[in-house]
Symmetry: C2
Subunit: 81 residues, 2 copies
């Protein structure tokens, strides 16, 4: 292993029945927590919209997460000012 | 239109070549900004990983967004404490 690879982790997670290997400097515990959140959100959206195909489900999961993030960010800005 | 529907918006956005109609109390400008962010992230991840199919691409976009969100949240907690 060379220096450049020394601080890289390979973490394999399962999301909605598929395996993903994440390579990077992220702590494996962080990657696993993130995967669990995405997996849970996909299952929740699927429960409410059983007709959705997996691609649209994954896109809507990303949309939900970004939406929550932007709202939290705006709230934080209001608190800070 | 009845009262229950009065404060609901229908916003149609295009993400990665597919149309999505978002129904809810969100401001259409918020929904459009969120869609633009997801679309841009999907195109960026696809540029770096051209072999990815659209489902895996969308799942990895959700993973990226949640990962950034959790890191920003942790940073904010450190600032607050």
């Amino acid at each position: 292993m060379n220096n450049r690879e020394n601080n890289k982790h390979r973490t394999t997670v399962s999301i909605y029945g598929q395996q993903y290997t994440v390579v990077g400097q992220e702590d494996p515990a962080h990657v696993k927590e993130v995967a669990r959140i995405v997996n849970d959100q996909m299952r929740e959206i699927k429960r409410r919209n059983p007709y959705l195909d997996t691609t649209r489900l994954a896109v809507l999961t990303a949309v939900n997460v970004v939406s929550e993030y932007k709202k939290a960010e705006a709230e934080q800005r209001n608190k800070d000012s």
